[in-house]
Symmetry: C2
Subunit: 362 residues, 2 copies
């Protein structure tokens, strides 16, 4: 049996991916930018094994047998096997591409938290198999494969600040992740995730995206005019370590994304009244100087970025209202409890996928 | 003493006015469309009196002395006096333009309901004084004066279906209300207003509009592309009495307006979780056929339009969840109470300002 284990991180977009121009290849209608979060707090660990004795490809996710028979997972496996086959010319090289795979995967965070785990999941799957297969391709090349599993997964193949360049080719060969700046460029960036309770089921993001592309009258303008300018401006803000500018662009893009959701027909709502209270708190924190940036994905959870230097300023106000929920690493004064948040995750910017000696067995 | 009394209606836009190109003249960035509601349920009654014995212009609103010293009210009074002065050439004509005015005004609906009463208020003020002054100007001409008081007030000078043509002249002489179709064209149109409780103060609409114009990246596209097409399509749907089309355009425009609010920086939120539940209910009502149209102004209250023929279908589902609140004229089965609505107002399309023999004294 051959085996390799890798951990991969969660990433949270600061310039949102919303809209596919090709659904089966997960090709986006716009380029996006994300920050990779620390794997100490949020990661997927995946062990990929190949053996002559395996009868079929199988996946165990958090201890449960899951189907590998989805077109997206199949596309990833087929691409990886093809790359492996191309380096199996020598008779000494084991023919791993012809063996079945067992993939065992675990998240270190509760699925119930409603955090999009598919990005870390597909990034770990692709990285682990690439490691097992000893593929020579670089991370950008592998990101195209992860992208076919879940669009935003391509960004989890790098640490630090990552761009997903949308590309223009119909086959997606130029739609890949690239590093804007590594973790070491701005290691003091921090993030706090506020897990917001919600009584309704959110619209799945693939369904939501397609509805927005098909029905929103404002969407085309976001894609053609707003995002391209913001993409360049945000890259510059990151390279300049200009937090106020980075924060403004991040908050504006979150708002713009939720605006085109609301402009869809029927409208899609991801922000709830608690999300809005959190936005107001960030506005209060930022009253004198912009030191915090909120962003919301396809759900009510808030992610708030800040620099370590401003940690007390940012966290003390949030603690005031949410100090009663679990997850805090630093403590302040709890004053007026606000309902609607079930836990917080205090984390920071982190590296890309890592090899690990830890390994999972089903 | 000379005196005249008029009642004026509330109107609820189906194509929203959001954005001023001239703040002091209340000139809009886009044309808008509204339906005038019945004065049986919602109206302002205003008595305007002029007398040599009055020492100053005074206004009593719902029994309380209010200031007339706002630039907007002063602009209305100055315009009306100027028109009156131009017909006071004959020595027999009383010089009403030189006398002070007492204006007494009352709404037949609770101010606490949070229904924008300024449109009915300024429409009644301008109509009552125009009546007192026996001005020969038509309603479109008078609408330009009411517009200076409160932009949307210009639409309350007509009954039925009303367009406010934005105009292009810098002095606003072509920015006026016109009738698209009278009440008699589609008298079976009904409206139910769900008054939604909210614990936060909404952003005042003038402040909100200016923030949107200045900061939303999607707003320019709404104004340049989306609204002009929708304006023509909605006029056609009204003239064709095509309810499904009228409803779709109305709901889309409400969503578009709230989308550009959310795209403002900082974002403006008028819809709350109760508003969203009402949208979902309307989607349920419309599952087989579009028989109801929601629209939301600068606050969480919902206005739902429907045709009398579908009244049971529309109201029975709303009654199921909101049957426990006051205001229903027809009754169904109350099942699962949903919180967040404090009262409902069941009303219908109605006529423009009406002379009345009823008169108010301070």
């Amino acid at each position: 049996m051959y085996s390799a284990s890798v951990t991969a991180p969660v990433n949270i977009a600061t310039l949102k991916y919303w809209g596919k121009r090709d659904k089966s290849l997960n090709l986006p209608t716009n380029s996006s930018i994300s920050v990779t979060l620390s794997q100490d707090d949020l990661r997927t660990l995946t062990t990929a094994s190949a053996s002559e004795s395996f009868e079929k490809d199988q996946l165990w996710l958090n201890g449960k047998l899951e189907s590998l028979d989805t077109p997206r997972t199949q596309a990833c496996l087929a691409d990886l096997r093809k790359l492996r086959a191309s380096i199996e010319q020598s008779p000494d090289t084991p023919k791993l591409s012809q063996m079945k795979l067992h993939i065992v995967s675990e998240n270190n965070f509760p699925t119930a938290a409603g955090l999009a785990s598919s990005a870390a999941g597909f990034a770990a799957l692709v990285s682990a198999i690439a490691k097992l297969y000893e593929l020579p391709q670089d991370m950008s090349e592998l990101s195209k494969i992860a992208r076919k599993g879940s669009g935003s997964a391509c960004r989890s193949l790098f640490g630090g600040f990552v761009a997903w360049e949308m590309g223009t080719l119909p086959d997606g060969q130029d739609s890949k992740a690239v590093e804007i700046a590594p973790l070491e460029h701005w290691p003091s960036l921090r993030a706090v995730i506020l897990v917001v309770s919600d009584d309704k089921k959110d619209t799945p993001s693939t369904t939501g995206m397609q509805s927005t592309v098909a029905t929103s009258d404002l969407f085309a303008h976001r894609i053609a005019e707003v995002v391209p300018q913001r993409f360049e401006a945000m890259k510059k803000a990151i390279l300049d370590k200009d937090f106020p500018k980075f924060a403004e662009l991040t908050m504006k893009d979150s708002n713009s994304f939720h605006a085109v959701c609301l402009d869809s027909y029927p409208p899609i709502f991801y922000l709830n009244d608690t999300s809005k209270k959190i936005i107001k708190m960030v506005e209060t924190i930022n009253q004198q100087e912009v030191v915090a940036a909120y962003t919301f994905d396809a759900g009510p959870n808030a992610v708030i970025y800040y620099d370590e230097a401003n940690q007390d300023k940012v966290l003390s106000l949030l603690y005031k209202h949410f100090g009663h929920v679990p997850g805090w690493k630093t403590h302040y004064t709890a004053e007026t409890p606000v309902a609607g948040v079930s836990r917080i995750i205090q984390t920071s910017i982190g590296p890309g996928p890592q090899e690990t000696s830890e390994s999972l067995t089903k």
